[in-house]
Each structure stands twice: as structure tokens, then as C-alpha cells.
Point group: C2
Chain length 244, copies 2
DNA sequence: GCCGATTTGTCCGTATGTATC
DNA sequence: CGATACATACGGACAAATCGG
């Protein structure tokens, strides 16, 4: 459910671009036309369009217009710039996700873990290790740490489905911000075993570490995602600010 | 040189956050205060702040205020969401960059290359292979393809310095948009030789493929950057739009 | 629980500047 | 030169969330 007018316009334009209602490399209707189309102010139109710019869907050109530069993302591509759960990403790509919980335990954060996760030492936390499948192929091992204080009531059953769905829908939690770091690391025996990798073929893998904050600005999740290298693909769109 | 009022405010707030003038986890001055401070309208302040949000510097909370959630990025971290040349990134991290041109040639795009780069078949292009050093350590091999039509006059000498500087300052070209895809690929003999890698230790590496468009919406650059895995680090900030 | 003050979120209208055609 | 299109900036109005009394 779109929550606001500019969000409605944004989603509508996005859908039209994705469904080729505007030809690639062609101009979108001008702001004035869009104002009439959606019966709104110029600011509102511009807000919607500026989101399409950061999404890499369009490019604005002063004096000329707004060009559609959208190109469909290949399947299995993750998109950066937004927070998306494994399940959401899979569904968006038309795949069948499944999850196996390898470890579910409650722990107390010690100094070593505190340095790695950013959680305060002594805090209570859930540690969850999960294997994610796409169409029955094991692709990702996730090591999740959730601060218990912020995410009470997590169970193994929830972890088998969607933790984010539980946090947002049941706990009414707003997940706001996530810092992610991508690196390449050597594979471990656990990776080799569960992802069915051969270390002679691939001896390292893509690792995404993410630090996620809730709407109170509290770091409540640290996750390390270890991706099968041959299926790892992250996509990003960058905008160069003139004269930066 | 900041080009606009909101850009000035954005840069000033950013600097203050980075230099700890606002304590971490604390609130920034309210919009009303900022309006007085910078003698401007509310929209202008909000525009500056919203850029800090996408940068992951602050988090806005309706009814509460704007919290500083900035954490300094470790050195050698690249930042996503913006286009930055190797040279710029190195300087930002206080390192000494240098570049060695391995190959500089002019080519005609054939079908195979057209599929890879997105350039039309038959187009003229520069192919440049470069080795990038940070503090005398070889870190990245870049394979650049530039459409000659869009980037006339490229020379080996320019490639040894900064191509982007040439494009922006000399050709007055506006680089606007770049789509990037990160993957993990097996290392090649060229990688092994120039990056001084041992395939028994690391047999794959981080690869960033980027498709860059100019202000006319024309794809003028395709680059494949092959990064030493043990020094590769990409950072990103993601915002979850409520109810997405 | 209520109310008012504060703070951010959304939306509108207008004016002016700059680039393109 | 004028018309069109996007960019910047201002001001005002109301809504929604938070907080303190």
C-alpha cells in the first residue's frame, strides 16, 4: 500500500518503465505533463522522479527532459541501496526460496563478539546460522546475531521462515538503515560442507557483513552472509554529483 | 566549489559530523535551528539532510529529531552509491596512488565485445589495461573500454594519470550515471602475474563491472575492475523504505 | 489520558535561474 | 529570441509522531 502521493507516482512510473510503456532511451513525459496526469504539484512529481534517478531508472537532463535508461536486471541479482530479505529478493526474481536452520541459540555477547558485531559486551543475543536455498540449490550461509532486547521472542520456527517478516509485522518494528561491507574471504569447512563447494575450484567466497539499525538508531542486527562465489551477483547504481 | 545553497549546507553538516562536532548517537539541531543557522528555507535544509540520510550519516525520526549515526569508514574502503575514480578514492583514504598502463590500443567493437560492453558493433573504442597501485602495492587490474566517439583524444599519458580528470576537466564531460555489478571470478594468469597472487592461496577475486553513461544518456565506458581479494572492500548504505 | 509544544513528513503554489531547442 | 524543460529556492499549510506537563 503506497503511503503517500509521491510514492504512488514513483511506483506507477517505475511500473511503466519496467513494462516498457516508455521506450528505452526515450524521454518520459515532461514535468508539466506529469503534473496534469497525476493532478499534483511540481514538487511531488520531482520527488518521485528523483527516486527513479537514484534507482538508476532514469536520467534527468536540464533543458531536455528525463531519459529512460532502465535495463532489466538479470535474475539472481541482488540490488544494493535497499534492504531486502533473502525471501523478498528470491520472490522478486521469480525463484523458490527455502531456508534450513543449522544453529539456533541464545548467547551472551563477550568482548570478542562485541568487537565483531558492535553489540555491547554482556548483552543478550540470538545467534542463528541458516542455509538459504534457491530452487533447492544451497547458495548462502547466514550467520545472524540479533540483540534480544530489540527482537524478543525469536524462535527457530520464525527463523525457518522470514525473520524480517516477524520483526516488521508482528513486532511492528521499523528497520531503517543498514551499513553493508562486501569482502572476499577464504572458504571454511562449514562453507565447503553446506554449500557443496570444492575448494580446489573455489577457495574463497563473497562475504557481505551488514550492520542494521532500527528506528531508534539502535544497532540490533549483525549478519555475515557467505555467498557461493559462482552465484554471487550484487548490483548497484551510482550517481556522480557534478563537481563533487 | 559548492554549486548551490543546499549543497553548501550538506557539505557543512557532513564536515561537522565527520569532525565530531555533533556527538555520535546524538541529535543534530532541529530544522528550525538549521533554518536560522543557514538563513534559508525549510525545504533547503531538508534537502541537505536527506542527502545525509542516503549517505548513512544520519537517521531522521518523525517527532524526535535527526540522529547522528555516522561511523568512520576504515581506510581502503570504497564507498558505493557514488562514482569515484581510483585516484580520488586513494586520496580520500590518505594513500598514494600510482598507475601503470599495460596496454593502450584502439579497437573496433566486434559482436562478442559488443555483447560484453554494450557498445554497438562496429564502433571505434579505446582498450586500456591498467595496473593500479596503492602505496606501491598492486591492488587492481582495470580493463577499460571507452567509446572513441564520446572520449576523443585519449592517450597513454592521460591513462597514466587520471582519465576521469581528463574527461571532466578537459573535455568538459559530465559523467552522470554508472551501473555496477559485483561478482567473484576465478583468477587468470594475468591477474596472478601482475597482482603477485598465489593461486593456491586465492584462486578467485572480486570483479566489479561498470557501465557508465554520460549526460546525453550514452553508454561511453565499460570497465572491468579485478581486485586483489585480500584488499577488496566495498561499503554501502541501504535504507529500507517503510512498507516497501 | 489529555493537551500543547516541538519536530519531522507531505503537499501545494510561486518565483527565478539555467540549459536546450 | 521565445518556448520548453529541468534546477534551485522560498513560503505556507496541514498531518503525524513524540515528549513533557
Amino acid at each position: 500500500m503506497p503511503k503517500s502521493k509521491y510514492d504512488t507516482i514513483y511506483k506507477d512510473l517505475k511500473r511503466k518503465i519496467e513494462s516498457n510503456e516508455y521506450a528505452s532511451q526515450e524521454l518520459l513525459p515532461s514535468e508539466n505533463i506529469l503534473i496534469q496526469t497525476y493532478d499534483c504539484s511540481r514538487n511531488t512529481v520531482r520527488r518521485a522522479v528523483s527516486r527513479l534517478v537514484t534507482d538508476g531508472y532514469v536520467q534527468t537532463m536540464q533543458g531536455k527532459g528525463v531519459r529512460n535508461i532502465y535495463q532489466p536486471t538479470p535474475q539472481t541479482a541482488f540490488t544494493l541501496g535497499e534492504i531486502e530479505s533473502f525471501r523478498e529478493s528470491a520472490i522478486r526474481n521469480g525463484r523458490v526460496p527455502s531456508t534450513k536452520v543449522l544453529v539456533f541459540m541464545e548467547i551472551t555477547v563477550n568482548d570478542s563478539l562485541s568487537g565483531k558485531t558492535g553489540f555491547p559486551a554482556g548483552a543478550e543475543a540470538y545467534y542463528i546460522q541458516r542455509l538459504h536455498f534457491l530452487d533447492d540449490m544451497p547458495l548462502i550461509i547466514n550467520h545472524n546475531y540479533f540483540r534480544k532486547e530489540c527482537t524478543p521472542g525469536l524462535t527457530k520456527e520464525i527463523a525457518e521462515n522470514s525473520i524480517y517478516q516477524y520483526l516488521e509485522q508482528d513486532l511492528r518494528m521499523a528497520i531503517v538503515n543498514s551499513r553493508r561491507v562486501m569482502t572476499v574471504e577464504k572458504i571454511t569447512e562449514i562453507d565447503e560442507k553446506y554449500l557443496e563447494l570444492n575448494s580446489e575450484e573455489y577457495n574463497c567466497m563473497a562475504v557481505v557483513s551488514s550492520y542494521t539499525y532500527n528506528s531508534d538508531g539502535i544497532l540490533f542486527e549483525f549478519t555475515q552472509s557467505r555467498h557461493r562465489p559462482d552465484y554471487f551477483r550484487f548490483q548497484d547504481n551510482a550517481v556522480r554529483r557534478s563537481g563533487a
